[in-house]
């Protein structure tokens, strides 16, 4: 547990400083942890696991500026996961009965699970619904891996508009996913 905290925290701090490779490792590890956690929590709703996992990853990404370096990284993630899970269950409880009450003691970081599957909704399709000023920066920078500068030239947008477009687009994406769920 202590090891996970130290490793993830140092990866997170490097990510916040702009290290994309560290961020990738951070998200990969987080994905495995969260998937296992969600499988345990959503035993009765297996179809929801990958959906909520992607929603959680987007939330962690969009809210990463709210991490306080003085606090344990694991408690920050735990609070986000718990919030999103409660939110999902509240949305679900309108349509069907929930059998498994939420257990505060269950920890995100207890175990890991791998074997990726696909989410029900298609992020790529949702991306196509975004306006160009958000869609193109995400497509070029985040999917094709172009630099912000090249994307700015290619789209005729300013560099800061490209960055804002990515930021707002990912937030809009998270919002769309939340509405579907």
């Amino acid at each position: 547990m202590q090891l996970i905290e130290e490793r993830l925290r140092s990866l997170m701090l490097q990510s916040l400083a702009g290290d994309a490779a560290a961020y990738r490792m951070f998200l990969d590890e987080l994905t495995a942890r969260l998937r296992s956690y969600l499988r345990r929590r959503l035993g009765g709703l297996p179809d929801e696991v990958e959906d909520l996992l992607q929603e959680l990853l987007l939330a962690v990404h969009n809210k990463r500026h709210t991490y306080d370096p003085k606090q344990p990284l694991t408690s920050w993630v735990q609070a986000i996961a718990h919030y999103k899970l409660v939110d999902l269950l509240r949305r679900r409880s309108r349509s069907n009965a929930l059998t498994d009450p939420l257990d505060e003691d269950d920890q995100v970081f207890a175990t890991t699970a791998n074997a990726a599957t696909e989410a029900k909704y298609d992020v790529e399709k949702l991306l196509r619904g975004l306006p160009d000023r958000q869609r193109l920066p995400i497509l070029y920078v985040k999917i094709e891996g172009a630099s912000v500068t090249d994307t700015a030239i290619r789209t005729g947008m300013s560099e800061s508009a490209v960055k804002v477009g990515i930021h707002r687009g990912l937030k809009a994406l998270a919002e769309k996913i939340r509405k579907i769920g």
């Binding site: 990510s15 916040l16 400083a17 702009g18 994309a20 490779a21 961020y23 990738r24 998200l27 990969d28 994905t31 998937r35 990958e50 996992l53 992607q54 990853l57 987007l58 939330a59 990404h61 969009n62 809210k63 990463r64 500026h65 709210t66 991490y67 306080d68 370096p69 606090q71 344990p72 408690s75 920050w76 993630v77 735990q78 609070a79 986000i80 718990h82 919030y83 939110d87 990726a116 599957t117 696909e118 989410a119 298609d122 992020v123 790529e124 995400i138 920078v141 985040k142 999917i143 891996g145 172009a146 630099s147 912000v148 960055k163 990912l170 998270a174 939340r178």
Partner: protein, 213 residues
């Protein structure tokens, strides 16, 4: 899309994040909200004409400290509730302590006063309007605090909204006191507190509606 593709999307070209942005926004919200509250107080309600004279009375400073202490404790609570997984610490517990201290002072004042003066000490001249004017003056602060809260990640939405309302109410009361002619502890213990509780209640209602993410 596969989850691993989403991870790749999120991490590719990830930029550095400015961790001080939240602090700057909080300061901006406080400064902007307090300025608007002051303009409303000075423009619509008018400042107390004998304000400078009143600064010689100890109760003036008791009143200002009461509002300021509640404002600081409320604001610390707001800032902590805006981030996932942060402990709240001692600040929220200081709020009832300060409120009870004012109640004790109010009771002491009432006991020491002659019976025919007691009603006057509680009601003053402005009891009917005081809570509503405090809530009115606090409105820009509440809007500003909720606006910043929305850009962060509160996980206890009702509490986050209520704390924003309480911080707005107590800072609003501090600004309103520049207009208010009342200094008696029984008045402050009743009507100032009620004035702070109006935006608190409103915030608790708005929290789950405005702050979801």
């Amino acid at each position: 899309m596969k989850t691993e593709d989403l991870v790749s999307l999120l991490s590719t070209g990830a930029q550095a994040v400015d961790l001080r942005r939240a602090s700057r926004r909080w300061l901006l919200a406080l400064a902007g909200g307090a300025l608007m509250a002051f303009l409303l107080t000075a423009g619509l309600l008018k400042l107390n004409p004998v304000l400078w004279h009143e600064t010689y009375k100890p109760m003036f400073w008791v009143r200002e400290s009461y509002c300021a202490v509640l404002g600081v404790l409320g604001f610390i609570t707001v800032v902590r509730l805006a981030r996932p997984g942060l402990r709240l610490g001692l600040a929220p517990m200081g709020i009832p302590v300060a409120v009870i201290a004012m109640w004790v002072l109010a009771v002491v004042t009432l006991v020491a006063a002659s019976p025919q003066n007691r009603a006057q000490l509680i009601l003053g001249h402005t009891a009917v309007v005081c809570p509503f004017l405090i809530a009115f003056i606090a409105a820009p602060l509440l809007i500003a605090l909720l606006w910043v809260m929305r850009s962060l990640a509160p996980t206890r939405l009702r509490w986050a909204g209520a704390a924003s309302g309480f911080a707005a109410g107590s800072i609003g009361a501090l600004v309103y006191s520049l207009h208010c002619p009342e200094l008696a502890a029984p008045f402050l213990a009743t009507w100032y507190l009620l004035g702070m509780l109006i935006p608190t209640t409103l915030g608790a209602w708005l929290g789950p509606r405005l702050l979801r993410w």
